[in-house]
């Protein structure tokens, strides 16, 4: 997607063994996401997809191996990381008193988005949340909450987007729109790392997939990954 000179490594891991104190889930895994790359993480339930994502983000310590962000040890608090990486947060992470529109407003303002009012309007429209813009998160359906989280991830500028099963609870039409948008972002050199169970996401907006079906995982082309998901 990018020429060699433009290509820059965002996130990489070497010999990463993931798991919990008394249980190794998988590894060693080598992984690299550069500018404009699109990598999916696929596998059966319990194969360690979300654990790998959490380990890559430094939220769970790795049993062994190293992770780095732009060549330096990963630090979620570093300014570069916060500016570059947008992570779709977990389902329960909301401020109970803030409305849907105010959540988007705060994220946009927090990241210094110019003309954030228009951007909020456009995200509400894209995710079909305009009718519930003044609702509190507690009043939303689970699908609407998922849309709000995705909108909050996309409203801010980012070089690397990280999703954990973004397709969950979205209807097919919104999924399609969302994937097309991600494909457009990739053309603008935005990288994507996503855990997914949806073959359409692999086909439409990702290049390769890391299939976690054994200890070290296996890299496959997106079409092969999609077929594995459909089997």
């Amino acid at each position: 997607m990018a020429t060699e000179s433009e290509h820059r490594t965002h996130l990489e891991a070497h010999g990463l063994v993931i798991g919990y104190p008394e249980q190794t889930i998988c590894g060693p895994i080598d992984l690299r996401i550069g500018t404009g790359d699109g990598l999916g993480i696929i596998g059966s339930n319990g194969s360690g997809k979300s654990t790998l994502l959490a380990t890559l983000l430094g939220r769970i310590p790795a049993q062994s191996g190293e992770t780095a962000f732009r060549g330096l040890p990963l630090d979620e608090d570093s300014l570069d990381f916060r500016r570059t990486v947008a992570v779709q947060v977990s389902d329960g992470a909301f401020f109970e008193e803030l409305s849907v529109a105010e959540h988007l407003e705060m994220v946009a303002r927090g990241h210094g988005v110019p003309e954030w009012e228009a951007k909020v309007e456009s995200e509400l429209e894209f995710f079909e949340l305009t009718a519930v813009a003044d609702h509190l998160p507690g009043e939303l359906s689970s699908g609407q909450r998922r849309k709000l989280l995705l909108a909050a991830t996309l409203i801010r500028p980012a070089g690397l987007l990280i999703f954990d099963e973004p397709e969950q609870r979205l209807d097919l039409r919104i999924r399609q729109k969302f994937y097309e948008r991600l494909a457009g972002l990739r053309r603008d050199m935005v990288s994507i790392l996503a855990v997914t169970h949806d073959p359409a996401m692999l086909r439409l907006c990702l290049d390769r997939a890391l299939l976690l079906d054994g200890d070290a995982g296996e890299y496959v082309e997106s079409e092969d990954g999609a077929q594995w998901l459909e089997r």
Partner: protein
């Protein structure tokens, strides 16, 4: 709802037989266990009574301000006995409210799916819970009755066995009636309405207190004599016997009504009752009073949305949480109650009571501020979503907590100066004490917020021994103690207005404030 005899005979399946077998299968050791549980509960009630009685005596001692100079306020027209007149119906409302949560017509959501489809008479299912609820209601009544008798003894200095019996008897009957009425309301699915009634009742009582006090202030002299007569009635057996008869007259029809409704209680009402009980248990286990309001629909509140746009994002979110989440209410409610008490009760405006009020205010404020900070402190991903580093989030949280504490303590200090309860010299010493208290409170609130997600049920269930539970409780108590200790310099100046605050006390305050100062400095 009773099992169809035809179906049972044809299939050989009798759900009543299952219940009989479940009950008869209880071994001797299980029966002994349940006896032990009752024993432990009684023992816990006796210990709680001892501690609460000590606290009550302490509060009465402080409000009477024995041996310390009082401030003679023109507005202070009431005695503590007169305040007790209002506390009596408040206590009864609180017992009723508790029984609305603990009433018999409740089946937990997990159990409901198993039990409710069974084709058995619901009376069979609910009878043990019904007996337990009546027992619990009367036990809660006896507990409060004993506390009340102890308070009367502290105030009047005299009592008789007949007075004690009639007071305890009244409260026991009131508790029994409350349990029965709550059961009947649960069966009718009217818990929410009854809870609203309780809240309105408490507000009416508070408004009645202020109205009567105001009427006295504007010169309705006849009220004074009437209040004195009512106060005296509290120490006589006759009025209590009348109250006992009244409570009995209410309790009996309530019990009859509730037991009649037992058979016809709907599954929806049982599920709702179960949900209420779970919320109460969750609130107790998580030490978070908001748990009991979880079922209530949260109102959309757009207050302050535009105003906070001038503030940094993190500060704006915390300000909105404070305003819209109602986290200012506990501190304001306590401040209002304490102020009315200080202004209206003759002996209350004394240095001991003022120091006590400030100490409780700091604890209440610390807990409320921790609630404001909780999501930002416990969910770092929210901060990341906003593009904030941990140090930025912590600085914002500390600044908001310290700012709000400063505001509340500043208003209190100025107010107490205003009514002449404090000497405003030396001013720098007061300013320093308020600043250090606000910073200390911010440190405590941040530390407490980080532990606010604690699941007490998990801790108790997972604790390998009493020591690990004790360690958690000590940590919790330490937080509250730190909140109260933040105001050490304030208390000293209230209690000894002419003496200079010793360096040791400044050092304690500074130690408390140090974590907040460190966070603010980045």
């Amino acid at each position: 709802m009773s099992a169809s005899p035809d179906t049972s005979a044809a299939s050989g399946y009798d759900p009543r037989d299952i219940l009989r077998r479940v009950r008869s299968a209880r071994s001797f050791s299980e029966r002994f266990d349940s006896f032990s549980e009752i024993y432990v509960w009684v023992l816990a009630a006796v210990v709680a009574l001892a501690y609460l009685a000590s606290a009550l005596y302490g509060a009465i001692f402080v409000l009477l301000g024995e041996g310390v100079p009082h401030l003679e306020l023109a507005s202070a027209r009431w005695s503590l006995d007169a305040v007790a007149l209002f506390l009596l119906p408040m206590l009864l409302l609180l017992v009723f409210r508790l029984m609305l949560y603990l009433g018999p017509n409740a089946v937990g959501p997990e159990q409901a799916d198993w039990w409710l489809p069974l084709p058995v008479d619901r009376r069979v299912l609910l009878r043990p819970a019904w007996r337990r609820a009546l027992g619990l209601g009367s036990a809660a009544g006896v507990f409060l009755g004993l506390l009340w008798a102890l308070a009367l003894f502290a105030l009047a200095g005299t009592w008789s066995p007949a007075l004690l019996l009639s007071v305890v008897g009244f409260f026991a009957l009131a508790g029994l009636g409350s349990a029965a009425a709550a059961g009947a309301l649960q069966a009718a699915g009217r818990q929410h309405a009854a809870q609203r009634f309780c809240s309105a009742g408490l507000r009416v009582l508070a408004a009645g207190y202020v109205l009567l006090w105001t009427a006295q202030l504007v010169g309705m002299g006849t009220l004074d004599a009437r209040l004195v007569a009512w106060e005296q009635a509290l120490l006589e057996v006759g009025p209590w016997m009348v109250l006992c008869c009244g409570a009995l007259a209410v309790a009996v029809p309530c019990i009859v009504l509730a037991s009649r409704r037992l058979a016809g209680v709907s599954g929806a009402a049982l599920r709702e009752g179960g949900l209420h009980q779970q919320q109460l248990a969750g609130a107790i286990m998580q030490a978070d009073a908001r748990g009991v309001h979880l079922g209530a629909a949260r109102k959309r509140n757009r207050t302050g949305g535009r105003l906070v746009r001038a503030l940094p994002v993190s500060v704006g979110i915390l300000a909105l949480r404070c305003v819209r989440g109602g986290h200012w209410k506990p501190a304001l409610g306590f401040s209002a109650a304490a102020l009315v008490l200080l202004l209206s009760v003759r002996t209350a405006a004394n240095p001991l009571a003022l120091a006590g009020v400030l100490a409780i205010l700091l604890v209440v404020l610390g807990a409320s501020l921790a609630e404001v900070l909780r999501p930002a402190a416990t969910q770092p991903e929210l901060g990341l979503m906003l593009g904030l580093a941990r140090s930025q989030r912590e600085r914002a949280m500390t600044a908001v907590a310290a700012g709000l504490s400063l505001l509340v303590l500043g208003v209190w200090t100025l107010g107490l100066w205003g009514i002449g309860a404090l000497a405003p010299v030396p001013w720098w010493s007061w300013v320093a004490a308020v600043l250090l208290a606000a910073l200390g409170l911010a440190s405590v609130a941040l530390a407490h917020a980080r532990r606010a997600e604690r699941d007490w049920e998990e801790i108790f269930a997972g604790a390998s021994n009493e020591m690990s539970i004790a360690a958690v409780l000590i940590q919790q108590a330490w937080t509250l103690l730190r909140a109260a200790a933040s105001g050490a310099a304030l208390y000293f100046q209230v209690l000894a207005p002419v003496a200079a605050v010793p360096w040791g006390i400044w050092a304690v305050c500074l130690l408390g404030a140090a974590p907040a100062l460190k966070k603010l400095a980045g």
